[in-house]
C-alpha cells in the first residue's frame, strides 16, 4: 500500500513500489525527478539505515536537497519528513540551498588558518560581494567553508568545484576567479 499523503507516510505506512504506483505529495517536483529519487532509494533497497548514502547520491544528482526532495525520500523510505530534515541539517555536507555553478570552498582547517586562510576568505567575499553560504545573483559562484581537505602542505587551500588551488594569497584570488568568468 502506498502512502497517499505525507501524514500517512509519517504514520509508518511502508511504500512498496510497483509500476502503477505514484507518490502523491504536495510538491513542485516533476514526475521524472520523483522517479529519479525513487530509483536512488531503490538502489539501496529502500533501507532506512542507508539514508545518508541516499542523501549523498540525491545531492550529487540535484545539487542540493530542498524540502520537496526530502519529503519524497521520507515517503519512499517510510520515515517522517522531520527525520530526514533532522539528518540533512545535522551534517554540514548536505545543503538545502542551491550552490553556484562553481562552488568555492575555502579550507578553514588549522593549518590553513595559521597560514592566512581568513584573509583569503575576506578577499573572496569582497570580490564576489557575497557572504559564506551565499550564491552570487548570476548563480555562478557560491562560497562555503570546509574543514581540512588534507592538503595541508599547500596551505592555504581553496577549492573551486573539484579543483584544488594551493598556496593561495589574497592577491591571487582575482586570478583564480578570472579563470571561471
Amino acid at each position: 500500500m502506498i502512502p497517499k499523503t505525507l501524514t500517512e507516510a509519517k504514520e509508518g505506512v511502508k511504500y512498496t513500489p510497483s509500476e502503477k504506483d505514484k507518490v502523491e505529495v504536495k510538491h513542485k517536483l516533476s514526475d521524472d525527478k520523483i522517479q529519479k529519487i525513487r530509483e536512488i532509494c531503490e538502489s539501496y533497497n529502500n533501507d532506512q539505515g542507508e539514508i545518508i548514502n541516499i542523501l549523498h547520491e540525491t545531492q550529487s544528482t540535484f545539487g542540493y536537497l530542498p524540502a520537496e526532495v526530502q519529503e519524497v525520500i521520507a515517503c519512499v523510505l517510510g520515515v517522517s519528513a522531520a527525520h530526514v530534515y533532522g539528518i540533512v541539517t545535522f551534517y554540514s555536507f548536505f545543503t538545502m540551498k542551491p550552490k553556484g555553478e562553481h562552488p568555492i570552498s575555502v579550507c578553514m582547517g588549522t593549518a590553513c588558518y595559521v597560514r592566512g586562510a581568513e584573509k583569503v576568505l575576506d578577499e573572496l567575499k569582497k570580490e564576489l560581494k557575497i557572504g559564506v553560504g551565499e550564491t552570487t545573483p548570476d548563480k555562478k559562484f557560491s562560497i562555503s567553508c570546509l574543514r581540512c581537505v588534507g592538503a595541508c602542505g599547500l596551505a592555504p587551500v581553496v577549492m573551486v568545484g573539484e579543483k584544488v588551488y594551493g598556496r593561495v594569497s589574497p592577491d591571487g584570488v582575482k586570478k583564480i576567479l578570472d579563470e571561471y568568468k
Binding site: 545535522f90 551534517y91 555536507f93 548536505f94 593549518a111 588534507g150 592538503a151 595541508c152 599547500l154 573539484e162
Partner: protein
C-alpha cells in the same frame, strides 16, 4: 627501473597526474616503456616539496617536479644516467643537493610501520601490495593461530588505539570476543575530522590493503564476518582507492566467502560520513552508520558490548589497524621494543603550520618535539621564532618551548595539558596570537557541537563569546577567571569525549600564555598584531613619499598629511579597514602592537 610518482591528494592538486602521463609519453617516444615502469604511489609524506618523483633502484628523490620536467628526467636520468641536479632536494643548512631520501633530514629520524608501503606501491594494484607482504599476516593467523592466540599477540605488543584515546587494542578485541551474540561487527573509524590531520587519509590512499587485512584479522579474532569502514565524504580519492582495493581483494579470494580456503568469511562495506566532527566519537559514529543524526550516547554500554544495530562492535582507527599486519609478521616483542614504557611502537603525525617541511611523518614514541620540529620539520618558516605547537586537534592543547624536550607519548602529552589525539601537529610562530588561536578552536567546537547536552552546546558558545570579547579589546581581568571556571564545568559535565575535551584549547593557552591574555585585557595590546582592534595602523615615515593614495581612500578621513610629506594615521579615528594598505605602493603602512614605529625596515 621504476619511476614512482606521488599520487596523494596534495601532490595530485599540483598536477602529479600530468607528470605521470608526460613521463609515460616520453618513455613511449624513446621506446622504453617496457624497461621503465611509471607507478603512481600513495603519499611520500614530504608534502611541502611536492609533487615528488622517486627513481628506483638508485632512490633518487626529485622534489617540486613540474609536468614539463618529465622530458629532462627521462633524457638525463633514465637514458644518460645523470641525475637532474636542479630537481634534487637542497639541504637548507649545508646548501647542498641531497640525492636520496635516506640522507634527508626529513626522513632520517623516521621509522615507518603503519606507513611502511605508502609511497612504495601502487595502491590500485593488489599484486604490488602482495609483493610487499600484504595478506601474509592474515594467512599466518588463519593457518597457524587460534583467535585467542592472535589476541594474545596484539595484547603483548601493547598497541594502543591511535585514534586519540589510547585504549589498548588487544584488550578491546578480547572484550568484543567475549561478548556473546549471533552477529558482530568490525568498524574502521576513518572519520578523520581534526582540522590539520591527514594521516588516515594518506594510509587509505597509499596502502588500503593493510587496513582491509587487519580488519579481516580482527573479524577472525572477535568472531565477526562483516566489517564497515566509516569514511569522510571529503576524501574522494581515498574512497575510490578503497573501493578498488576491496574489489581486487575479493577477486583474489582474500576477502569475501571462504577466505584462502579456510572457511572464514569476511566482507567489508563502506559507509560515508557527511561532515560532522562529532562522528569521530565511536557512539556517534555508530548512530551515523545506522542512518541517524550522529549524536553520542552514554558509555557504558560500550560498543564492544552493544554497538552497531545493537550488536557487539569493535571500533578501531585506521592507523591502529595499519599496525596490525606488521605486528603479526614481525612479532609482538619486536613492536614492544620500540617506544616508551607505556606507549609502544610508532605514531604518525601530520606536521603542518609555520614549519619548513610540512608533511606526514612516522616516528617512534618517545621522540622529543625538538627533534620533530627542528630536525624532521626543518625549523620554523622564514627563520621566525617558535611559539607553540598544537597537538591533538580541537581536543588537544598548545605546548610551548618548555615542552620541547619532553619525550612524546600518550601519558606525557596528557601531563603537559594536551593529548595525542589522532596526531595533528600545528606549529605556530611569534606572529600568532594565542587568544585568537583559542578563539579559532572554540569557533570550530561551537559549530561542531551536536547540541545534545547543554554544557557543550551552551557553555562552549559562552566561551567563544568571552574570547571574542577579549580579542575585540573589550575583555576584563574577570573574564579570565570566568573562562577557567566555565571550562572546568564543561569538562566535568559534558556527555561525550568531544564536550569533555572541548575547553582544552582555552585551558592550555590560559596556562601557557597567561601573560598574553593579561596583555589583551589589561594593557589592551596584542603583541602579534593579529587582533585588529588591539593593534595600531602606523605609517613608516621613512618609506612614505606622501603620494596621498591612502589619504584619498580612507573612508573615515583618519589620514592627514601634506603632499610629498610623510602622512600620519589618527589611531582614534582609524577603523582598521585595510583600505590604506591595499592602496599603498610603498609598503609604508604597518599593523603593530604599539602606536609608534619600533624599528624601520
Amino acid at each position: 627501473m621504476h619511476i614512482l610518482v606521488c599520487g596523494g591528494t596534495g601532490c595530485q592538486s599540483s598536477d602529479s597526474a600530468k607528470i605521470q602521463s608526460n613521463l609515460e609519453k616520453e618513455l613511449a617516444l624513446k621506446r622504453l616503456q617496457d624497461d621503465v615502469q611509471v607507478i603512481r604511489t600513495g603519499c611520500f609524506g614530504f608534502c611541502e616539496k611536492g609533487p615528488i618523483v622517486n627513481v628506483l633502484p638508485d632512490n633518487t628523490f626529485y622534489v617540486e617536479v613540474k609536468p614539463e620536467d618529465a622530458k629532462e628526467i627521462i633524457d638525463e636520468h633514465v637514458i644518460k644516467g645523470r641525475r637532474v641536479e636542479r630537481l634534487l632536494y637542497v639541504d637548507p643548512e649545508k646548501e647542498k643537493h641531497v640525492e636520496d631520501s635516506k640522507h634527508m633530514g626529513f626522513y632520517k629520524k623516521q621509522l615507518r610501520i603503519a606507513l611502511r608501503n605508502c609511497g612504495f606501491i601502487d595502491p590500485e594494484n593488489i599484486e604490488e601490495a602482495i609483493a610487499h607482504d600484504a595478506y601474509q599476516a592474515l594467512g599466518k593467523v588463519l593457518a597457524e593461530y587460534t583467535p585467542e592466540e592472535t589476541i594474545e599477540v596484539v595484547k603483548k605488543s601493547q598497541l594502543r588505539g591511535r585514534g586519540g584515546g589510547g585504549f589498548p587494542a588487544g584488550l578491546k578485541w578480547e572484550i568484543t570476543r567475549k561478548s556473546v551474540s549471533d552477529k558482530k561487527y568490525v568498524v574502521c573509524n576513518a572519520d578523520e575530522g581534526d582540522p590539520g590531520a591527514f594521516m588516515d587519509r594518506s594510509i587509505l590512499e597509499g596502502d588500503p590493503h593493510s587496513v582491509l587485512e587487519a580488519m579481516a584479522i580482527c573479524g577472525y579474532c572477535i568472531g565477526s564476518d562483516e566489517g564497515l569502514i566509516y569514511i569522510r565524504a571529503e576524501y574522494p580519492l581515498a574512497i575510490k582507492r578503497l573501493k578498488i582495493a576491496i574489489e581486487q581483494a575479493e577477486s583474489f579470494g582474500l576477502l569475501g566467502e571462504n577466505i584462502m580456503g579456510t572457511g572464514f568469511n569476511f566482507k567489508i562495506r563502506l559507509r560515508y560520513g557527511a561532515g560532522a566532527f562529532v562522528c569521530g566519537e565511536e557512539t556517534s559514529l555508530i548512530h551515523s552508520m545506522e542512518g541517524k543524526r550522529g549524536e553520542p550516547t552514554n558509555k557504558p554500554p560500550f560498543p564492544s558490548v552493544r554497538g552497531y544495530l545493537g550488536k557487539p562492535t569493535n571500533v578501531n582507527n585506521v592507523e591502529t589497524f595499519a599496525n596490525i599486519p606488521a605486528i603479526i609478521l614481525k612479532g609482538a616483542e619486536w613492536f614492544a621494543s620500540i617506544g616508551t614504557e607505556n606507549s609502544k611502537g610508532t605514531k604518525v603525525f601530520a606536521l603542518a603550520g609555520k614549519i619548513n617541511n610540512v608533511g606526514l611523518i612516522e616516528v617512534p614514541m618517545g621522540i622529543t618535539l625538538r627533534e620533530i620540529i627542528y630536525e624532521i620539520g626543518g625549523g620554523i618558516k622564514g627563520g621566525k621564532k617558535f611559539k607553540a605547537i598544537q597537538t591533538g586537534g580541537p581536543s588537544g592543547g598548545c605546548l610551548t618551548e618548555k615542552h620541547l624536550d619532553t619525550p612524546i607519548d600518550y601519558d606525557n602529552l596528557l601531563k603537559a595539558g594536551s593529548m595525542m589525539g589522532s596526531g595533528g601537529m600545528i606549529v605556530m610562530d611569534e606572529d600568532d596570537c594565542m587568544v585568537s588561536v583559542a578563539k579559532f578552536y572554540m569557533d570550530f567546537i561551537v559549530e561542531e557541537s551536536c547540541g545534545k547536552c547543554a554544557p557543550c552546546r551552551i557553555g562552549n558558545k559562552r566561551l567563544y563569546e568571552i574570547l571574542d570579547r577579549i580579542t575585540q579589546g573589550k575583555g576584563t581581568i574577570e573574564d579570565l577567571a570566568k573562562l577557567r571556571n566555565l571550562s572546568s564545568v564543561i569538562k566535568d559535565t559534558s556527555l561525550c569525549g568531544l564536550g569533555q575535551t572541548s575547553p582544552n584549547p582555552v585551558l592550555s593557552t590560559l596556562t601557557n600564555f597567561e601573560e598574553e591574555y593579561i596583555e589583551h585585557v589589561v594593557d589592551k595590546k596584542c603583541r602579534s598584531g593579529q587582533c585588529k582592534n588591539l593593534s595600531y595602523y602606523v605609517i613608516d615615515e621613512e618609506l612614505c613619499v606622501g603620494c596621498g593614495a591612502c589619504l584619498r581612500n580612507c573612508p573615515v578621513h583618519a589620514i592627514t598629511g601634506e603632499k610629498r610629506q610623510a602622512h600620519h594615521i589618527n589611531t582614534d579615528l582609524c577603523i582598521r579597514c585595510d583600505a590604506c594598505i591595499a592602496k599603498c605602493s610603498f609598503d609604508a603602512i604597518r599593523i603593530q602592537s604599539e602606536p609608534k614605529i619600533l624599528a624601520h625596515k
